[in-house]
Symmetry: C2
Amino acid sequence: METILSTQNNRVKEWEKLKTKKGRKKTGMYLIEGRHLVSEVLQNDADVVYVVATQDELDEIKFEVPNDLLVVVSDKIADHLSDTVTTQGIFAIVRIPNKERQIQEPASYIEGAWLLLDNIQDPGNIGTMVRTADAAGFEGVVFGKGTADIFNPKIQRAMQGSQFHIRLVLGDLNEWVKSFRKANLPVFGTELNPQAKSYQEIEATNDFALIMGNEGNGMSKELLSQTTANLYIPIKGQAESLNVAVAAGILMFSLKDI
Amino acid sequence: METILSTQNNRVKEWEKLKTKKGRKKTGMYLIEGRHLVSEVLQNDADVVYVVATQDELDEIKFEVPNDLLVVVSDKIADHLSDTVTTQGIFAIVRIPNKERQIQEPASYIEGAWLLLDNIQDPGNIGTMVRTADAAGFEGVVFGKGTADIFNPKIQRAMQGSQFHIRLVLGDLNEWVKSFRKANLPVFGTELNPQAKSYQEIEATNDFALIMGNEGNGMSKELLSQTTANLYIPIKGQAESLNVAVAAGILMFSLKDI
C-alpha cells in the first residue's frame, strides 16, 4: 500500500489522462470509478494495476482490496479523477485486454443474440444498452464504426458491471452481418419507418443480430440493405421517436427467447 | 423585437435563475432550450413570454417567431442561459400554468393509461419516461412526492416535446392509486422481486396505472401494498437490474393495448 496526497503527482496526472481516448491509447489502460464497478472488476478476470481510494471510502467498503494494488489518495485527488459530481472516492486502473484494442473478426460459428451498435454517440445510451443486453441474455455487443469508445469512463459507469458479464468487441458491422447471413441467422435492422415490419410480428428466438443506429440519423443505408428484416416500434402518441436505449430495450426483450 | 448584449443585464440574470427550482417558484416561469422545443411550445397552447435567440440561430430556423416575443442576444448570453455543452442558441421563457403548480386530485372519472413516478431522481430518466409514455399512447404522467421538478430544464429537454402532447401533473400517488382502485382499474406496481408477477403474464389493456419507483430503492412499501399486482421483468443474464427508463419502456409498450 502506498499513499499519494498531491494532485501534482505524476501518476495522478497519468491517471487523469485515462479519461481521454488519447490517454487510453497511449498507455493501454483505462479507469473505472465507483464501489460497485471496482468490486466487480476485482472479482473478474481483469488485469487490475491499481485500486485508488480515499481512506474514508476504504473504511466503508465491504470487499477486500489486495494490498499490493492499493493506493490511498486525498479527497482532492479523488475529485480530480472523478467523472461524477459527488464521487464515492474509489477507482481502478485496469489494463485494456489486447484483443479489445483491435477490430475483431466475427467467429466462424456464431451463437447467441448479439447487439450491433452502428455509430451510436451518447455514452449513457451505449452503457445502458450494454446493461440491458446483459439483462436480456445477449451473448455480446459489437461496437461498430463511429460508436463511442468502449473504455470511455462514462460508458464504463453506465454499463454497471455488465462489461464483465457479456462480450464486448470492436468490429466491422458489415462483416458481422455477413457472418450471420452466411450462418442463416436473422439480422434485424431498425428503421423509423412504418414500411418496415412491426417488431411484434417477429417471434422470439435465440440466435440473431439486432442493429441499433445513430440517435439522430438511424442506421447506415448500407447496413439496412443487408438485413433479413427491418423493424420498427409502432408509435401510438405524438412523440416523433423513442430514445435509442429505450427502443433497444423493448426490442431485445421482445426478440430474445427466454 | 429587442436586443440584449450584456450578460449583466437584469433580465438575463432573471432568466438564468430559472434553472433553479427556487427561481422558477419565485417568478412562476420556466426556461426551455433548443430549436425543437421552442418550435413545439410556440405551436402549443403555452403562455410564452419571450423567445430568446442569437442572430445566427434566427437565420437558421424554419419557423416564425412573433416579433413582440423576440429578444436577440449575444452568443455569450446564450452560453450563460444554456444547460448544454454546445447550445443551439434558442430559448423560450414560459409561464408555468397555474394548475401545474399545485398538487392535483385525480379526476373522479379516470381514463387511459397513466404512469406514476414515485420518488424518481434522474432528470434524464424522467424526461425519457415522459417521452416514452407519449409514444406508448399514455394519457399522462403523475409526478409523485420526491420526484424531480417537472420544470427542471434537463427534464424539459429530455421530454423532447412530449410535455406538450400528454398531461403532466403533480399528485399524491396514494390518492391516485385509490381512485384507480375505486374505479376497478388495475394498478401495477414494479418490484425487483421474482415473487412478483412477470409482466408477460399481464394482458394488454387500455385503462390502468403503472408505478415506477426510485432508481436505487424502488417503490415505497406503502404504495406496493395498495396495487392490484406487482410486476417484474425477468432478468436472464447477470445484470442486477435494468435502468428505470428502459424498464418503464418495456412495461409501457407491453401493457398498453394498441
